[in-house]
């Protein structure tokens, strides 16, 4: 046991002479030192990671869908004319009756005036892009049961249930066609008026749209007004509601306001020049 005591004393004496273990005198971790030069020959110097053949060696960029030898996925299947004629079709962004009701309840739309594309675009929440083949708004029947507003609205497409919902509350609805130039004016009237150009006439609908807009069932703006009055009664009987008499309404003047087929804005005629700075309207001499 004495020699053990001597050994431990010797070890402790040795340990006292050694410096303290700290970060300055530790060996670095293996592989932690990065060589600033590339290896020679086969140690990373021959091909620099680019391999022997193929797109890595030749630094190509394989195109999308390429499957290196397989028949690509996007070429395996037969043709189907999904998009046939898509560039000739007109688009109508939808507005639901629920959305319209909320716009009215939050006072973004003034229902004491007739509602058209300008009114909807001026709310700031609905956009119309005529450059993307959008030819106006279509009114859809979501929220049809909760709709209770007496409005005079002009949209570009509406189903029969929507027409019934609006007329049941004593309102009036019209479907109307606008040519692309008129759509640009209606989507942003201020921008058009700042150009200093007189208001042009509205064009007539193309051949495939004439049938829709001359039909009184669709409340087309080219239809016979007497046939429209007749169809209001027919629709009321079909859906089983009592048609309110708009002739006895206090807002009869507003409800019967309608644009001429050549007119773009309510109250403004083609040929008039709107001066925004001076707030004047320049008309033609009679």
């Amino acid at each position: 046991m004495a020699h053990l005591r001597e050994t431990s004393d010797k070890a402790l004496k040795l340990l006292r002479t050694l410096p303290r273990v700290q970060i300055g005198n530790l060996r670095p971790n293996p592989n932690s030192k990065q060589n600033d030069k590339r290896g020679r020959a086969q140690h990373g110097g021959d091909k620099h990671g680019a391999g022997n053949k193929g797109s890595g060696q030749r630094q190509n960029f394989m195109r999308l869908g390429y499957e290196t030898g397989n028949q690509p996925f996007y070429l395996r299947f037969p043709y189907e004319p999904y998009y046939k004629g898509h560039h000739l079709k007109r688009q109508y962004p939808p507005i639901s009756l629920l959305q319209l009701q909320v716009l009215i309840d939050t006072n973004r739309i003034d229902i004491s005036q007739p509602i058209d594309i300008s009114t909807l675009c001026n709310s700031g929440l609905l956009k119309l892009k005529p450059a993307e083949m959008e030819y106006g708004f279509q009114l859809t029947d979501d929220g049809l049961d909760n709709f209770q507003a007496k409005i005079n609205i002009e949209v570009q497409h509406a189903s029969e249930a929507v027409i019934a919902a609006i007329e049941k509350n004593g309102g009036v609805i019209r479907t109307a066609y606008y040519d692309p130039r008129s759509l640009h004016m209606l989507a942003n009237p201020k921008k058009w008026f700042e150009k200093g150009v007189p208001i042009p006439s509205r064009m007539l609908p193309p051949q495939d749209a004439v049938d829709y807009y001359t039909d009184p069932k669709n409340r087309g703006y080219l239809a016979n007004p007497e046939a429209i009055s007749q169809d209001r009664l027919v629709l009321a009987q079909k859906y089983g509601y009592q048609l309110p008499k708009i002739e006895e309404d206090s807002a009869y003047e507003m409800l019967t306001t309608a644009k001429d087929p050549r007119q773009v804005f309510y109250g403004l005629e083609p040929g008039w020049l709107i001066n925004i700075v001076d707030k004047t309207i320049i008309k033609r001499k009679q």
């Binding site: 999904y82 898509h86 959305q99 929440l125």
Partner: protein, 178 residues
Amino acid sequence: MLRTFVTSALRSVCRQSPAASSLVPLVQRTQRATLMTLSRPCLLPTPSLASPAHHQLLQLPGVLAATGTPSNTRNVTKFSLVKGKRKTVKAVLKRFKRLDWGAWIRTHSGRQKKLFKKSAALRRRLKQHVFTNATQSWLLDKMVTSYWRRPKHFINDPYKPYHSRNEYYATQSKTFKV
């Protein structure tokens, strides 16, 4: 391959020298003859086939490259030359259709072949459309431009009921902003 070289050489000639625009009809008229000549085993035109049109064609600076050193050609177009934008792969639009919630649909392969051998249930399934999965939808979305990824609101669209998928949380339609 040789036809590609000749065509690209002729195209570069028509593009590089506007002063030679009067020669463009001549180039187009003799393009077929040149291709027929060069498709023979002999690369150089033989003296027996010499004609004034060929002589004029050989005077053009770019065509010499077709008979001598072949010029480079690129078959994969990533960005267009005129606008500098990505191009849509037309093969995708011929075979697939995008639904507004992100999936693409396609038809079955061989759906009109050997129908007499197939059962009635299989024939009914072949008439249906197939969804793509997430990886394939991602790939097809990258292969088309943003015009085709945009929702379309056509009247009387037969795919109208399939453009929404409201029972899945990720593709639920958002409430309108008011």
